[in-house]
Symmetry: C2
Subunit: 213 residues, 2 copies
Amino acid sequence: MRLYGYFRSSAAFRVRIALNLKGLAYEGASIHLRRGDQAQAGFLAVNPQGLVPALETDGQILIQSIAIIEYLDETHPEPPLLPRDAAGRARVRALAAIVACDIHPLNNLRVLRYLHRPLGQDQTAIETWYNHWIDAGFQALESKLAGDARTGAFCHGDAPGLADIALVPQVVNAERYELDLAPYPTINRIFENCIKLDAFADAHPNRQPDRDE
Amino acid sequence: MRLYGYFRSSAAFRVRIALNLKGLAYEGASIHLRRGDQAQAGFLAVNPQGLVPALETDGQILIQSIAIIEYLDETHPEPPLLPRDAAGRARVRALAAIVACDIHPLNNLRVLRYLHRPLGQDQTAIETWYNHWIDAGFQALESKLAGDARTGAFCHGDAPGLADIALVPQVVNAERYELDLAPYPTINRIFENCIKLDAFADAHPNRQPDRDE
C-alpha cells in the first residue's frame, strides 16, 4: 500500500491511524501542500481533486479519508472500527462526520488561503474563523459524547474506532491554534486515552518523516 | 419516522431522496433555518449541533445525512444504495464525500452568514465564494465520473445510489446560483436521469410543504 499524504493534513492523519490500528504496513508518499505539490500534474493524475490522502491499494487508488477507512474496515475486519449494530454504526459515523464534514473542511489549507486572498482577511480574522468552527463542532460533539451511555474510554465503548480516528487529528489542530480545550472535558479525556496508544501516537504529524516545522 | 428538515437544506434533501428510494413513509417537521428555529432550545434538544436533518426512528434520533442514509441502507437493504463490492462502495462513498465534505459545508447557510458578518463580505463576494467551491468539487467529480467505466446512467452503474443522492441537491443549488453547468457534461447527464425519477423529483425543495420562496 502507498499512502499519498502530508504530515500536517488531518485527513491523512486519520488514514495513518486506521492503517496503524489494522496493523497494515504502507509506504508513504509526501505531497507537500504548502509548496503546491497537490496542484502538479503528477499528483492530479493520482487524485484529480488535488487533495490528500489518496491510498493506492489492490490495484486502485482510493480517495476521501472516511471512504478509505470504511474500505480498510471492510477488507481487513479486525479490529473493527465500527460497532456491530446499525444504531451504533450510525452514531459513530455521525460523530466522525461532525469533524469530517462540519469542522475540518472549513479549516482546510485551501480555504484559509481563500480567506487571505481574495477575501483580504488578516491572520487574526483567520484564526478567529478557525477556532469558531472548531468550537461549534466541539460543543456539539461534547454534548453528544457526554450525554450518551455508549461513550466509554473512547467515543463509542472501550475500543478505539472511526469516531476517535476523526477526533484526534482535530484536537491536535486545536492545540496547535491554542484553543482552550477546558470546555470539552469528555473530548479531552478521550483524546488522552487515544494518544497513549501507539497507533495514534505514531501517526502524529510530529512523527512523520516529511515534517518540516 | 419523523424527519426534521427544511425545504432548502441540501442535506435534508438527500435524506428525503433516500427515504423515497426505499419507499419509506415519514412525517416531516420543518425547522425554519432562515428564521433561526435550529437555534431554539426545542430543536437543540433533538440535535445539539443545531443542524438539519435529524431523523427520529426506532426510538432514537439520528443526525448527519450520510450516516442516516447508511443506517437506512443497512436496516432497509432494498433497493441497495451502495454497491456490493468493497471497491465499488469505496468509490461511491468517495464521490458522495466530494459533495458532502468538500462542497456543501463551505456553502452552508451558517458559513455564508459568517462571511457576511463578521467578515464583511458583500453579496458578490459571497456568490463568487459559493460558485468557487462548487466548481472545484464539480471539476473533480466530472473527472472521476467521466474517466471510470463504472459510471453508467447514474454515478455508479445503472441504478441510483448514495453518490447520486449527494449529487442531485448540489446541482439544484448550483442551478439556483446560476452556475453554468456546461463544463460538467457527465454530472449534467446523470442529474437529468435522476430528476426524472419520482424519488428525486418528489424530494425537490419546490415540492416541499414548507417552501416559502
